[in-house]
């Protein structure tokens, strides 16, 4: 029975690699994305019915496409080791959940929105970009933690001192952190400050020190990323150079060694 299955696998693999099939998949994804956008406009009832049918067709197509890719995979176990395959499977499976209830209809619509992300999984360049973005995150870990500590301490001070002044902004530590994020984006931050300065005239120092600290930490984060990217680039260039030069270059020290040997030979001849 492995023979016909193998035949099917190679046929499906050929289909999967077919440029035309790929283009068709991309256009179905595009149509599904446009459909999501179109539904946000008021539509006549016939068109609404059409979009519902189209939605089912797209779900069906995604199911078929995923099945083809699964069968085309020679090593079935490896299929789910690939993050993007798992990602696509999840999106398809979630779309299959029947949500007829009117209250959950909104959730059904939200789930279909994530189909647009299949655009990322189908275009290799976007996939690379996204993984490189995600890979850049861990190196930011400690700066993020430091920033969180700064936010936490300032929010604790803020909700202790300013809670009576404006509970909407400083009610508890979570709201205070949101307010501080607002201050960090400079969004009407002086309104927040003038309000507290009416009670505590020195509270400007709280806001200014926070802005300086958070800006400085943020700057450090950005510089950290830039330096990191630069280093990776340099490492890549160096590697390319060493590959271009074929085998590893001799060092100047080795050359000097050879020269010394020659001199010894010459002196022996004398």
């Amino acid at each position: 029975m492995s023979q016909p299955s193998n035949q099917l696998q190679t046929q499906f693999e050929r289909l999967k690699r077919n440029k035309l099939f790929e283009l068709f998949v991309i256009s179905v994804i595009l149509v599904s994305a446009l459909l999501i956008g179109a539904k946000t406009y008021p539509l006549p009832p016939q068109v609404v019915t059409a979009t519902v049918i189209l939605d089912y067709l797209i779900t069906l197509f995604f199911l078929i496409e995923l099945t083809i890719r699964f069968i085309a995979e020679p090593h079935k176990k490896r299929f789910f080791n690939n993050f993007w395959n798992v990602f696509d499977t999840l999106i398809v499976l979630v779309s299959l959940v029947p949500i007829e209830n009117s209250e959950l209809a909104v959730i059904g619509r939200l789930i279909r929105v994530f189909r647009v992300l299949r655009m990322v999984s189908i275009i290799p360049e976007l996939r690379i970009l996204l993984t490189s973005l995600v890979k850049a995150l861990p190196q930011l870990g400690y700066v993020m933690l430091l920033m969180f500590i700064i936010f936490y301490i300032y929010a604790a001070i803020g909700s202790t001192l300013f809670e009576q002044i404006n509970p909407n902004l400083w009610g508890d530590i979570a709201i205070s952190m949101l307010t501080l994020f607002r201050v960090m984006t400079f969004e009407d931050w002086t309104d927040v400050m003038y309000e507290t300065m009416a009670v505590y005239p020195l509270s400007w120092s709280y806001f200014l020190s926070f802005i300086f600290l958070s800006a400085f930490a943020f700057l450090n984060m950005v510089i950290g990323i830039v330096v990191n990217v630069m280093e990776q680039e340099h490492a890549k260039v160096r590697e390319e150079n060493s590959v271009a030069e074929g085998t590893n270059e001799p060092s100047l020290r080795e050359l000097q060694q050879e020269l010394k040997e020659i001199k010894t030979l010459l002196k022996q001849q004398k």
Copy 2:
């Protein structure tokens, strides 16, 4: 007949290269730019008449200048291969369209505004700057696409959830994208957020995740450009170095090879 035409061509070429003529062209462009600015102020009727006459004279001069440049060109076919010649021709041709109708007068004024762009086409440094700006765009293609996908998904979610709250901001996917761009520029974004938080208390996560994602993608774009520019600079420096050193330098490996040959020669002598 080619003789007199050639004579005319070389004469016009000399005229085109004349520094004085170039300066005159630049000053006419400057006058036309000032004229456009002057027209935005309330002017007495006599001055308005003067500006209309001046407008015609400038259009005429641009036509003559373009004709001179066309005749000065030895290879007529190449003339329209140059982007900037096509650009200048278009601006002149469009100015020639007679717009007397009062309703279209605004369009006529708008078209004349683009004459200021001739400043870019006449100054070589600006031309280089603009082409380098345009050349930098394609490498941003995929980051821009990723950013658009992020905007599209968030806008779809936004107009699904928040449409009832404020149709002016979340009415359909296009308006939602404009609102998200506003949030990205931090322009009164907390007003938008507080409004939705009154209905969905957890909607701060929608806004914060969007700000983080878009800021991160934007940062990546900037770093991408910086690294790219740096690499080009390095490549230029390396090229200059290799040119400065005249012929290509021998590698250390080649020197080692020569040393080995010398040792063999010496050993043979023994």
Copy 3:
């Protein structure tokens, strides 16, 4: 008597280095941080009593932990040369001050907030990050001074000219500097400008020149930091290279010297 004391010291040193003990210290710090956050929410009276008891327990634990670290230190004098030890001691000592008075209760709560900073002192990566942040400050000294002079001059001009227009914004030089900082963050700066333009129509030049100057100085500061960090990275890479190559490489000049000696030897043989 030094024998038993030494025994205690080595035992405590072993305890201090114990991974489990370290984890326990970190979790106590975490609990104390969460406690600070929890207190900003309205709590039932029983929980308030519990937090007070927990507060005392944490203070006690910090005191014990510090004592262990002090005894574990072989050179007692060096203990207070370490900035982080002094820092931890201060936080513990300040927590011990009995503040029962209701008026000072707020101050007591604020002091406990700084316990969260022990998170920085216990995690080595954060400690390194913070010291590198602090080390970056002095090199910014002169740019900061220049920026302060710019602010001071503009604030002096502002409070001289605009004091009558809006004393809340331009009352004295300190308030004017705060207003200028607000302008620098672009926070409703046009409101401030339009108000003064109603009296002095040319005052836009004051605001625009200030924005350009401060933005330019700020940009210079950022670039200064970036270049500095880059140089440090390059220096590190160069150092690593020279270490990797073991002993110091001979220069090309030395190799040339050797070649000349060989030639002399050969010529003598003739």
Copy 4:
């Protein structure tokens, strides 16, 4: 007579270089700066009289200090070739103009504000910083010109289309450019846009294209400065390296040449 004058000159030169004298000058400048700040606060009449007297004393001291520096200069003609000497002289001379008239009193106060700039002229590090800032400007010339052209064209379009909507924002080309600068700083830019979108629903494209263009040009400017600074740093490092290596290093090509000569010598010996 040149003898005593010379004696005076060398004595004054010694005085000028005296660390104590320099410190005294700096503290007088500091006092004058603090005085300017103090005057922005409401002061009792006695203190006002004191500040007036102090003002005269400071003017007198600046005059004396400048005279000392002038006499200390061995080549009198070179004194005014130094920008900072001219700068200091101007500030002193302007302070000497008697302004008793109450209407001009404000101008008198403004002029004294610029005395704070003497801080820059007396501290060498600030002087270097400022000259390096000024030197960085010309290389930005063409990007600035391009940005101005972008602003000019958009302002011309804006005041043509939107003048009727809000003359306060789009009345003439100068006001429109100010409004566009406001849009560029994202300061309540959506208010400006929503107002025009009520009449021209597509005017969002005007604002978005302007934001993208100006942001892109601005980014290019920043990158241009970064690359420039980096290159200067690299050039400095390279120069230092070549100085450290003493005489100029032989090239690998020269070494290869020598090796070839040795081989020829060896072959001749055979």
